[in-house]
């Protein structure tokens, strides 16, 4: 099912004001309702390689699979949603590609990447993530974070060692506890949420949320939501105006209308009755 007319997607990525390379990588496949953002890490240009591999592998594999898969169906064998299984499989595929490259080529040793993937299907959105790249949602003027970082800081906040206010000033913002391509296998965190027309989803690297307060990000989306491309550029510009110490990447997805996945007369009737 082609979602080009259902989802409006705007992207923007920038090396920032300090770094010479952009180790972030973003990809969007509007027809299949897929967006991927990765923030790479590793020596020399290995970070770019890792994040580039992650986005390319996931987008190309998913594109092939989604041409005849029905993500909204449930696997009878283990009661698992097809969508969740597909996304997990592709994330694992990307993980082993990066891990093997890192193992076999010395210049890529130790490379890895954070990841956040959004898959839109059947009036739903599935998000899978690893590390500290985030997804936010603006719905009916309420702006909230969807994903929870896999970072030392988040663990400390959760266990009550530090408060979120202290976290803003903490030194070790950069330590993530999960990432793609570091270990032979990885378990991405996957959640599924219903979407509503008018929702704006924001995927971003830590270069945005470290430099710009959540409040200001939310306000920007509220005021510039009418022009998604401009909102994406504005967010990147705000991060750079505030110092731009890291690469900044932004993907914005707006849900324009309903997109029930069920096909066939009965399915359509059912979707219509819902």
């Amino acid at each position: 099912m082609d979602l080009t007319q259902t989802l409006e997607i705007a992207t923007c990525t920038d090396p920032g004001m300090v770094r010479s390379h952009n180790e972030d990588s973003i990809a969007a496949d509007p027809a299949n309702g897929l967006v991927v953002l990765a923030d790479g890490m590793g020596g020399y240009n290995a970070g770019e390689v890792a994040s580039g591999m992650a986005t390319t592998v996931i987008v190309t594999e998913m594109r092939q699979i989604l041409t005849n898969a029905k993500p909204y169906e449930v696997d009878q064998k283990n009661n698992e949603e097809i969508a969740a299984r597909l996304v997990r499989e592709q994330v694992l595929k990307a993980n082993s590609s990066i891990y093997q490259a890192a193992q076999s080529q010395p210049q890529y040793a130790g490379m890895g990447t954070t990841l956040v993937v959004g898959l839109f299907y059947d009036n739903r959105m599935l998000v899978a993530h690893l590390g500290d790249s985030r997804m936010y949602l603006l719905r009916e003027n309420k702006f909230k974070q969807v994903t929870r970082d896999h970072s030392l800081l988040q663990e400390q906040i959760d266990s009550g060692i530090i408060t979120p206010e202290q976290a803003k000033k903490a030194a070790h913002k950069n330590l993530v506890t999960k990432a793609l391509g570091i270990d032979p296998t990885v378990e991405p965190e996957i959640h599924e949420y219903p979407t509503k027309p008018g929702d704006i989803y924001l995927l971003c690297s830590d270069g945005l949320c470290d430099m710009v307060d959540d409040e200001d990000i939310g306000m920007t989306l509220q005021t510039l939501g009418g022009n998604l491309k401009l909102a994406a550029q504005q967010l990147v510009q705000m991060a750079n105006d505030n110092g731009g110490r890291d690469n900044v990447s932004v993907i914005l997805v707006r849900v324009l209308r309903e997109y029930p996945g069920a096909k066939g007369v009965i399915g359509k009737m059912f979707a219509w009755l819902k």
């Binding site: 890895g112 000033k169 070790h172 950069n174 993530v176 570091i182 022009n227």
Partner: protein, 272 residues
Amino acid sequence: MAKLILSMDGLVLKEIPLTKERTTIGRKPHNDIQIDNLAVSGEHAVIVTILNDSFLEDLGSTNGTVVNGNAVKKHFLQNNDVVELGKYKLKFVGEAAPAAGAGGEKADFEKTMVLRPAAMKAAAAAAGAAGGAQAAVAQRQAAVQAAAASAAATGIADKDPAAKAASAPAPAAPAPAAAPKPGGQPLGAIQLLSGGNAGKELELTKPLTTLGKPGVQVAVLTRRPQGYFITHVEGTKRPSVNGQEIGAAPHSLKDHDVIELAGIKMEFFLKA
């Protein structure tokens, strides 16, 4: 060997090498660093040194411990950190590593790195074996630093030697996360010149202010460190500045520019 330089009113009193695993600071004579001043508690603070890392911990002192102007409970000491105890200052000078190595070893707090459970455990175990029962948090911090160091050693930490070299002379403490807010610049405002609300004034205090009618014509005024900019958001017609229609890019606003938007004229001006 890391050391502390004790000074008062800019006068250096003595240098103290951090040879012990625990270096205590306080007013009472049994402390390793005795500071005989009433502002200093009997047992004021301790510096725990594990391998090349030193952690400062306040021992519940009456007047608290201040590092670089911030009160701290526990702190991972970085080169050139200044610890204040009443009138006294203790400057922390880290290991004088060779110039080339310094960049690689220093924790780069901007760079995203993976914290691996294995490295955490190993470092925690090492810290535990070396030191007995340290505060759990100090151990955890040590583990973090060790993980960071091992990450640095395997090349995760730093991919940009040029940028690193440039940033090396900067103080090791991370720059304050809060970015320079556009506070120093003059405040801008607009005054409506035509329409029903002519004469009305609007101060542009927020980073973003939208103007116009949604669905017809909307523009946004952005407040940036470089000044104010107007950008077209939606509508078939773009706003004009001084009679000239603006392009798709943000347009810089100067004092007393006249904006025309959705048939309404307004003047932009800077407040002194």
